[in-house]
Amino acid sequence: MSTTLRNLEPRSGNEIVFNAAHQMQHQGKVVQTITTTTHTRTTYTASGSGNGTQITQLNLTITPYRADSTIWLRWTVAYEAHHEVIFLVQRDSTLIGYNTDLGNNRWSGIVTAQYDNDYSTTPQVSTINWFDPAGTTAARTYQLCVRSASSTSYTFGLNRSLASAGADGQEVGVSHGIAREICG
């Protein structure tokens, strides 16, 4: 059945209720949002070979409603790392998020850790975006990854400084990830 109308109002009160299993779609609308937050203070190794080390605490699993949707991924990460560490994105462990125009070199990523010449006591915060065509309605997990842009491996401190997991002058933070399905 198709109905044409200009306005839709509640018969009474201020709410029109959708059953939890139901959804309303139009092109461009955010039809679902998945989030993750991690307070974990840990370290990873960013190697100059391979397709990046997964920061597993920030994994985002989403099952698209529509194959023609786009998944908007966004992470805001508190970390400390050498400025030759870059961020990448994988989907189910396959590298998708990097400068594909340039190609998959170890210096090709999305954003780079800021140069601050301090690799000890002061974390920084970066925001990483990626847009991925859903392609199917199968569940998938997106992984934020780090990789060294040179032959030297570097330590990546999640939510912490490289010097410690928290102390006077050595700050601790919180990191978040969010996946939105933009309806096709």
């Binding site: 109905t3 044409t4 109308l5 200009r6 306005n7 839709l8 109002e9 509640p10 018969r11 009474s12 029109i16 209720v17 959708f18 059953n19 299993a21 139901h22 959804q23 309303m24 779609q25 139009h26 092109q27 461009g28 609308k29 955010v30 100059g48 409603y65 908007w72 400025h83 030759e84 870059i86 998020g97 990097y98 400068n99 594909t100 125009d101 340039l102 070199n105 170890r106 210096w107 090709s108 990523g109 999305i110 954003v111 780079t112 800021q114 140069y115 601050d116 010449n117 970066s126 925001t127 975006n129 990626w130 847009f131 842009a149 040179s150 032959s151 939105r180 933009i182």
Partner: protein, 204 residues
């Protein structure tokens, strides 16, 4: 026609509103548009001074700055009174004497105007965002997410742009997605990134 209901259910759990129509409520994100730039481009950034909110800049270089065209993001609002939350997340390397502004159809809309009524004065050292000081203008790109909320008051397509301007007496270069030291293809320790423009229509 106004329809009054308590509940809505869709066929097979989905109520689909045929494109380009929408159903929305105040505060809802009606639509999201984005651009993605992977080009590595070197721009010369002059230090144009002056200009006022609403000035129109037909060329790539404006008083709001040099518009970094690959980041342009176009959105067609569904409603006249919608807000547009626009954000540019940019990987770049640049001198720290550079500020960033936002233009809509070449018109300066997102800037730190020097007047309390937010409409008049615009000097070359005011910006909606500022290039980060890192004392490295060679091998390490920086990045910034620069947001702005605009209300274009139209249902025609509008294009938002990200503009860079030198804040001092010298011109500077702005490297999109790349570094000063190896801007075309990058190399070990000379990283290459990806930049985005994102526009979200928020219903009033």
């Amino acid at each position: 026609m106004t329809l009054k209901v308590d509940n809505i259910s869709g066929v097979s759990n989905v109520l689909r509103v045929a494109h380009p129509n929408v159903i929305y409520q105040p505060g809802q994100i009606i639509q999201v548009k984005w651009s993605r730039a992977m080009q590595r481009i070197r721009y010369n950034i002059p230090n144009n001074d002056g200009g006022s909110r609403g000035d129109v800049f037909a060329t790539g270089i404006s008083e709001g700055g040099t518009v970094i065209r690959p980041l342009d993001v176009t959105i067609q609002p569904k409603s006249l009174d919608s807000y547009i939350f626009v954000e540019f997340c940019v990987a770049y390397e640049a001198h720290h004497d550079i500020v960033f502004n936002i233009v809509r159809d070449g018109m300066l809309v997102g800037a730190a105007f020097g007047n309390v009524n937010d409409v008049v004065y615009n000097s070359r050292w005011t910006g909606a965002g500022i290039s980060r000081y890192d004392n490295n203008n060679d091998s390490t790109p920086s990045h910034i997410c620069l947001p702005w909320v605009d209300r274009p008051g139209t249902t025609s397509p509008v294009t938002y742009g990200f503009a860079a301007r030198s804040s001092g007496g010298s011109n500077h270069e702005f490297m999109l997605n790349t570094t000063y030291g190896s801007y075309l293809n990058g190399q070990d320790a000379y990283e290459v990134g990806v930049s985005f423009g994102i526009a979200q229509e928020i219903a009033f």
